[in-house]
Amino acid sequence: MKVKMIMASALLTLTAWANANVNVDQPAPDFKLVNSNGESVNLSDYQGKYVVLEWTNHLCPYVKKHYGSDNMQSLQRKYNDKEVVWLSIISSAPGKQGYVEADEANQLTASRNAAPAHVLFDPEGDVGKLYGAKTTPHMYIIDPAGELKYKGAIDSIKSANPADIPKATNYLDEGMKALLAGGEVEDKSTVPYGCSVKYKS
């Protein structure tokens, strides 16, 4: 090649990204976390059912947008009725925003009239990193066969303004509706928006 090398100080180290990202239409990796009642919960416990994963942090304005407007809770209730297992996961590390102890988590669920099957704690951030959860909220749908069918934003308008909710396309709702009707999710993967997950590192 004619082009001479002047400098190649940066050796191309293609880091095998420590967070093995999960991909849609691939098996969703199993995990085990403790819920707000001190019980351990495996993802594999719910094989045969649709599972929704919701990364959350109750103090994040983008989470508040969807809880303050009852948007998130009404989705939880809607899909509870359809036998969908809703897992809210908190990956905030102790001392960081959104970290709660079990009691507070249960209080939050009650006070916000939320209806997740479980609130799960991931203070080490391992499951969050395993799934590549970047923001709160960050949503995932897993089908009865254990395959990931959706990952990404809750809806199409990236803002903290609750007034945008009715104008937005709710990706989670659209995806679940399509799947329950026996179809395919239209947007299987969207860029999530919100606060960063408050990981330990």
């Binding site: 090649m1 004619k2 082009v3 001479k4 090398m5 002047i6 400098m7 190649a8 100080s9 940066a10 050796l11 191309l12 180290t13 293609l14 880091t15 990204w17 967070n19 990202n21 991909n23 103090l59 994040c60 304005p61 983008y62 508040k64 947008k65 809880y67 303050g68 407007s69 009852d70 960081k96 925003q97 009650a110 006070s111 916000r112 009239n113 990193k129 590549g132 970047k134 923001t135 990952k151 990404g152 990236k158 803002s159 903290a160 303004n161 609750p162 993967s189 969207t190 860029v191 928006y193 919100g194 606060c195 960063s196 997950v197 408050k198 990981y199 330990k200 590192s201």
Partner: protein, 723 residues
């Protein structure tokens, strides 16, 4: 200044508590709790009311939210009809807090500004200063940790009458974060008088700070196994500097959030002309990406580019049969007659053909001259091909000396057409003494000249045929060039032989002199084009010397044309010497270039690819690493820098039983395409390791020195165990 607080938290608390207030009582056990909630609700409704009350008052040009102050500012103190004023939002976060760029990265949100105004302004795009990479745990955001101004140019309508006051209102939303984030909203307004002359405000210096420019260079990208590679020419990034400072870290910020993994390290390799940038792709990368808008910055300089997808696959051009190609070459030759560089000479010749019967061999002189020249071209190309270089039609245009020669030639022809140079008529076969001085050799020379002046040109249909000729065997090259020559020579030869055609051409007269003079301009236009080509291949100062050379050359020729006998020679001689000297000097320059090209051919430890060579190496229990590459392939270049050119890899290539075979697909050819297709590929790069004929391993498209060394040492062990 009336500072007002409008921020989401207030609003959020309101909606949150309204929800609780309305729904929760149904479930609450404790009346007290419910009572408290109603109190809270009442409070928040009150606070909301008070906020909206203050919002009713005249809008302020600044507001304060938690951890941030926002201001609406202008660079001028008045609106001048027809002129531009910059209006911007000054975001001033507290120390340690930041706001976001238009692509916020892994999380966060870009500020939004909606303008409203009661005049007919033309409003430009929002200008974003160069952002910084802001790590948050293992994620990355793009934004501003310092006060920043997002601004837009407003063009004041010409019809606006001085004396009026115009209010511009900005509905602003922002997100300010440290690790935690607080969104905010404000409606700010600024009122400016319409004036005849405006002065800069104190805020004027805050505008256009750290603003990227719109780059013109062609940036391309490729996507390979989870990585995206950008090729960014850096010349214009460094107008005032020699080259990029290796100490600086280069960063590519895509406009869209779904292209790169923001948190991944970006690896830059600096070649002598571009930055080769490798970034892990986003897990949200769409399946089909043709264009990517990016900002490239080292934190100080920044440029916007629209990167285009680099097509590394084989073109799906239709394959032509040899007969069609021959027809295309012939047609191309015909059309070449009317290309601007050739037309003047040929039309002058056509016009002066007389129906006087010249001997047959004289009439054929032009035809033979043309054909011989084309065959000579073909033979040169074949000779170079056998020496391992790929040349095509117009290959000599890569040599500045050759271009300089053509420039002299075209200037000479232009002068000859103006009758301001000696001997031109004879060379072009347009002399008045047609019957007397015109022999076979003169006609032959006209043919050669026609081909030489045609050589910088390409006609339609030619490109395809010549492209194929380039990668074909000897007989095809000869056939195609012969056919091209035939097409080129035919029109004038026919005119020569068919008396009725000659009769159609109007009789010579004064119009012909005018026409001849007109034809000077295509010649000069070609000269200008040649100078432009020359300039792109050489240093700037050489161009001026060539132009001076041409000027003096033209002057001497003109002097010569004014003289007779031996005085004429006195002037012709210096002009020829001048031309020879200029070309000689430039040849010295260009020979440097050629020696570099040769170096490329004779890189140590490199065996050029050929199917037979590969087969024989495999057959004799050797380790063979095949690298199919191309100059235009970004991935290939990156791999060459980070893997192949590393010392430990080169050491291995020097070992006796390891052979590094390189196939250069820069000019796509069939042998290499066949090889690529045998591995199910249609493009480069392709790296294949052969352990004799025992095992074949296709290596990944992105290599490191380590991975190459490992693969080769493992192959060495296998061979050693065998024997």
């Amino acid at each position: 200044m009336d500072k007002k607080l409008i921020c989401l938290q207030v609003f959020d608390v309101v909606t949150f508590h309204i929800t609780i207030g309305v729904l929760k009582p149904l479930f609450e056990k404790s009346f007290m709790k419910r009572f408290l909630l109603y109190i809270q609700l009442a409070f928040t409704v009150l606070s909301l009311a008070s906020t909206s009350v203050s919002a009713q008052a005249a809008l302020s040009d600044s507001a304060t939210g938690p951890h941030i102050e926002v201001r609406l500012i202008a660079d001028k103190d008045g609106l001048v009809p027809g002129e531009a004023v910059e209006i911007g939002v000054h975001l001033i976060p507290e120390d340690g807090w930041h706001t976001y760029w238009k692509n916020p990265g892994d999380s966060g949100e870009a500020p939004t500004i909606n303008w409203t105004f009661d005049a007919d302004f033309e409003v430009g795009d929002l200008i974003w200063p160069i952002p910084r990479k802001i790590p948050v745990a293992h994620l990355v955001n793009y934004g501003y940790e310092l006060p920043t101004v997002l601004h837009t140019g407003f063009i004041v309508p010409k019809a606006l009458e001085p004396g009026r006051n115009i209010t511009i209102t900005a509905d602003l939303s922002w997100l300010v974060c440290k690790e935690d984030c607080i969104p905010g909203w404000a409606t700010l307004a600024i009122t400016l008088p319409v004036v005849e002359q405006a002065r800069n405000t104190d805020n004027a210096d805050l505008f256009f700070k750290n603003v990227p420019f719109y780059g013109q260079s062609k940036v391309s990208f490729e996507i390979q196994v989870g990585s995206i590679l950008f090729d960014i020419p850096f010349e214009e990034l460094f107008r005032n500097r020699e080259r990029p400072d290796p100490e600086r870290t280069w960063y590519v910020f895509p406009f869209r959030g779904d292209i790169t993994n923001h948190a991944a390290e970006q690896n830059t390799v600096i070649t002598d002309s571009s930055l080769l940038h490798t970034i892990e792709t986003s897990e949200y990368l769409p399946a089909k990406v043709e264009e990517i808008e990016i900002l490239v910055s080292d934190g100080e300089i920044g440029a916007y580019y629209t990167a285009k997808l680099n097509v590394v696959d084989a073109p799906t051009e239709p394959e032509y049969s040899l007969l069609v190609l021959i027809a295309m070459a012939f047609l191309g030759g015909l059309i070449l007659n009317v290309m601007p560089c050739v037309l003047p000479i040929l039309s002058m010749k056509a016009l002066t053909i007389k129906n006087e019967a010249a001997p047959l061999n004289v009439q054929l002189g032009y035809f033979v001259g043309v054909l011989t020249s084309f065959i000579a071209f073909a033979l040169i190309i074949i000779a170079f091909k056998q020496a391992g270089a790929n040349l095509g039609w117009g290959f000599h245009m890569q040599s500045p000396a050759m271009i300089a020669f053509l420039a002299f030639l075209f200037v000479y022809i232009a002068l000859a057409l103006l009758d301001a140079a000696p001997g031109g008529n004879r060379l072009m076969g347009i002399g008045a003494n047609q019957a007397g001085g015109k022999g076979f050799s003169s006609q032959f020379l006209t043919g050669v000249l026609a081909v030489v002046v045609a050589s910088p040109c390409t006609a339609p249909f030619m490109a395809t045929a010549m492209g194929v000729a380039l990668v074909s065997n000897t007989s095809t090259i000869l056939l195609l060039f012969g056919s091209l020559g035939l097409g080129f020579a035919l029109p004038l030869t026919l005119i020569n032989f068919l008396p009725f055609v000659a009769r159609i051409i109007p009789k010579p007269g004064n119009w012909m002199i005018t026409f001849r003079q007109f034809l000077v301009f295509p010649m000069l236009a070609t000269t200008v084009w040649l100078l432009w080509v020359f300039d792109s291949q050489s240093h700037g100062e050489l161009l001026i010397w060539l132009m001076v050379g041409l000027l003096v050359f033209a002057f001497f020729l003109w002097l010569a044309s004014k003289c007779q006998g031996w005085t004429r020679v006195i002037f012709i001689l210096p002009s020829l010497l001048l031309m020879a000297w200029t070309i000689h000097e430039l040849a010295n320059y260009s020979s440097l270039d050629y020696s570099q090209a040769e170096q490329k051919e004779s890189k140590p430890n490199v065996t050029p690819y050929s199917p037979s060579k590969l087969a024989s190496l495999k057959g004799s229990d050797q380790i063979v690493l095949v690298n199919m590459t191309a100059d235009w392939c970004i991935t290939c270049k990156v791999n060459e820098y980070v893997a192949f050119e590393q010392a430990k890899v080169q050491q291995l290539f020097a070992s006796e039983n390891i052979h590094y075979v390189e196939g250069d697909w820069t000019n796509k050819n069939q042998e290499i395409l066949d090889y690529l297709q045998s591995y199910g590929r249609s493009g480069v790069p392709l790296y294949v390791l052969y352990v004799g004929d025992k095992r074949v391993e296709v290596l990944p498209q992105l290599l490191t020195a380590e991975s190459l060394v490992n693969a080769i040492t493992q192959a060495q062990e296998e061979i050693a165990n065998e024997s």
